[in-house]
Every structure is written in C-alpha cells, then in structure tokens.
C-alpha cells in the first residue's frame, strides 16, 4: 500500500491545504476499494506493478487534484471580453505614451539615434505593459469576490437600435489603426513645436531646424494635425466607417496631400544653423530625403483617398448588392 500512500500524497500536494486531509482520506478509500475488487477478481493480492498500473490509469496526481478542486481562472469567462478590451486599450495608450516619450528623447538628442529610439520604445513599453497587465488582471481577479464589474456586465443594458450600422467587414476600424494615427500625429505635433518643449541648451545646439517658410505655415499645419488627432479619437470611440467619417477622412487626407505636395515643392524643408552638420551629411541630402518622403506619404494618402471614394460608392449600394 506504500504506492497508494505515495500517490495520495502526490495528489494532496496540488490541493489547497484545508482540503488535503478530507480529499486524501476519500481518495485512499476509493483506491483501496478498487484494489480490493481487483484482488477479489484475481483471487490473490495485487502485485506492486499491478497497483502501479492501476494508479497510472487513475490519472496524473495534478489532473486528479484539479478534478477535485478545479483551478480558479484569474478572470471569469463573463468578464473575459471586457478584460481583453480594457487590456488592449490600456496597452495601446501606453504605447502611444511611450512613442511620444521616445520621440522627445530622439528629438532632444544631439545626433539621431534610431536604435536608441527603438530600444527605449521597446523596453519602456514592455516595462509599463507588464505592470499594467498585472494591475488590470488583479482588478479583474478581485471582481470574482463581489466586485461591481461582475454585476455591471451581467445587467448591462443594450438595444439593437444602438448597435453600429456595420454591414461590411471593412467598416470596422481596428484599434491598432486609430492608435497608429494618434501616435503619428502626436509625434508630428511634437516635431513641429520643438521650440516649445526643447530645453534652450539643446535648442541652441540643433544642427538643422525647420526652414522659415515651413515655420510660417506652422499654425495651419497645427490646425490640420489637431483635427487629425480629434478625428483619431473619434474613430477610437466610434470604431466603424460611415459616410460621414469617410468624408472627413477624405477631406483630411486631401488636406495632407496638399500639405505634403507643398512641402515637396519647397527648395528647403529644413535649414542649417550655426552648428556644423556631421561629416558626409549635406543639407541638400537631408532636404532631398525629406521631399522624397513627402512624395511617398502623399502617394499613400492618394491611394487612401481612392479607397475611401470606392468605399463611399459601396456604402451607397445596399449591402446585399455589394
């Protein structure tokens, strides 16, 4: 019977302390009964190897223990959809926050260090994400003991008429898309308003700055970027394309295309300062790269404009005809 005792002890190891004795006692009795009946059938005492085979068939101690006391999930199945939504939203916000933080470091640095930017972004994000993950999971775990969320989810009121009028798969706007837009426009706002937040010492050490002609248009560009931020937040709150949102997106994209075309047509987007540029780097090269980039982004936005027009045309047709 030593094997049985070892088996029962192994099962008890996976059980809560307050239930170990009671379940162990019952399990021992059940196994003893099975051994007794098998011995009766065989007409002799079971050998150790036969008992070992019987226990093998009974199941792994961990599995047996989990059948007596099923593991408690950290988040209940009812709260799981809400948990994922909250987790994704918080992680997305943290990502935007990290992008902005890393961007500020990048812009404040005396030299462009893209690797440092990526490292800071990655390490910073995972550091904050781990904490957020732990805190959110703990909050949801605590709901199982009578927290308000459980009741709120169970009694959540909704009406079919409040559901978004989405008939085509492309009408759903992914959270990632809104976040990318928000992070990009936030970064550009920081870039255009560097004199506001950059320390005077760093400012004085800059080797390139926005050219005068670009700086003169800063208010117009800012308005455009702020509109884009507001639109991204709107898409975040109402994540589906409708005619109105498509028209706004179309208008914003056209405005950005005009802005980018204007930037690409300039002699210089950035100008030099009293500080010399690093060796092998010419101001004309920087401007050429920036202008080519403006063309490329403009072309992409042109594609989006065409796509939005096609989608608007699709929305005018009934879904069944699409």
């Amino acid at each position: 019977m030593e094997l049985v005792q070892r088996y029962v002890s192994a099962v008890q190891r996976y059980l809560p302390e307050e239930q170990q004795a009671a379940i162990g006692r019952e399990l021992s009795a059940d196994i003893a009964d099975k051994i007794a009946h098998q011995s009766e059938e065989a007409g002799r005492r079971l050998t150790d190897s036969e008992i070992a085979a019987l226990l093998q068939e009974w199941g792994h101690p961990r599995r047996v223990a989990s059948q007596y006391v099923p593991p408690q999930p950290l988040v209940s199945s009812e709260l799981m959809p809400l948990y994922w939504q909250v987790l994704k939203l918080v992680l997305a916000l943290l990502f935007v926050w990290q992008v902005l933080g890393a961007s500020m470091t990048l812009l404040q640095a005396e030299q462009l260090r893209p690797v440092q930017f990526i490292l800071q972004l990655t390490v910073g994000f995972f550091d904050e994400a781990a904490t957020a993950f732990m805190v959110i999971t703990l909050i949801f775990y605590a709901q199982q003991f009578g927290g308000p969320l459980q009741g709120w989810v169970q009694q959540a009121k909704w009406q079919a008429t409040d559901l978004p009028p989405v008939e085509r798969p492309w009408q759903q706007i992914g959270l990632g898309d809104s976040i990318t837009e928000l992070a990009t426009t936030g970064f550009l706002l920081l870039l255009f308003w560097y004199p506001l937040w950059m320390p005077a010492e760093t400012l004085a050490g800059l080797r390139v700055v926005l050219s005068d002609v670009v700086q003169q248009q800063r208010p117009v560009i800012t308005v455009l970027l702020l509109l884009s931020v507001a639109f991204s937040i709107w898409c975040w709150l109402k994540p589906y394309w409708q005619q109105a949102t498509l028209w706004v997106n179309l208008a914003l994209n056209l405005a950005f295309i005009c802005l980018l075309a204007w930037l690409a047509s300039l002699d210089a987007i950035v100008a030099g300062t009293a500080q010399p540029l690093p060796e092998l780097l010419e101001l004309s090269d920087i401007n050429r790269v920036l202008k080519h980039s403006a063309w490329l982004v403009g072309l992409y936005l042109l594609y989006e404009t065409g796509r939005d027009l096609y989608r608007l045309w699709q929305l005018k047709k009934p879904a069944s005809a699409a």
């Binding site: 019952e26 099975k34 009974w58």
Partner: protein, 110 residues
C-alpha cells in the same frame, strides 16, 4: 468525423446528464466504487477521476448526505440523496423527460 472529435462530443453529451444519473443512482446509499459499478451496470461508464470528484461536489452543495462507515476492514464514505437532492432530482428528471421526448422526435428519422 474523426474519432477524437466524436469522443469529445460524446464526453460533452454524457457530462450533461451525469448529475442526473448520479443523483438517480443515489436513491440508495452507495460508496464510490459501488456507485461506479451501478452506473456501469446501467451502461454508463464514467472514469473514477470524473465520478468521485463530482459526487464530492454534489455533497458539498447539500444534494447528498454522506457518512463514513467501516466495512471489510476499511473505511468507506457512503453517499445518499438528501431531501434537497431528491427535490432537485425530481425537477431534473422532469426536464430530462421533456428533452428526451423532443430529441426523440428530432433524431427519429436519422
């Protein structure tokens, strides 16, 4: 349909009626092994790992009464339907009759 999928679905189907089968079997007192044998004799094969924890949980919910007794030189825990369990059994049995009748019509011509 693959064998494993069939096994999985059969398992799910049986799990649904397991409580009813156990409660119905425990109108008379049984200890673990004898309960399993009784179910087996009635064509319901449940492995120990599923049956014994289930019986314990039903007892914890007050649906079964239990008592430790000495028999054949060792102790056994005997279970029997409690008053609350008997009431639930009646309700579940009625539900089962309804379901069985409805399903019988549905699967009749398969």
């Amino acid at each position: 349909m693959t064998e494993s999928r069939l096994d999985k679905m059969r398992g799910e189907l049986r799990r649904g009626v397991l409580v009813l089968a156990v409660l119905a079997s425990l109108k008379q007192p049984h200890y673990g092994y004898s309960l399993r044998k009784q179910l087996l004799d009635n064509g319901i094969d449940i492995d120990e790992g599923t049956l014994y924890p289930l019986v314990r949980r039903l007892a914890e919910q007050g649906l079964l009464d239990s008592e430790w007794q000495q028999a054949e030189g060792r102790e056994r825990r005997y279970y029997q339907l409690s008053a609350e369990g008997a009431q639930l059994l009646q309700q579940l049995a009625a539900e089962w009759q309804l379901l069985n009748g409805a399903l019988a019509n549905l699967v009749e011509n398969i």
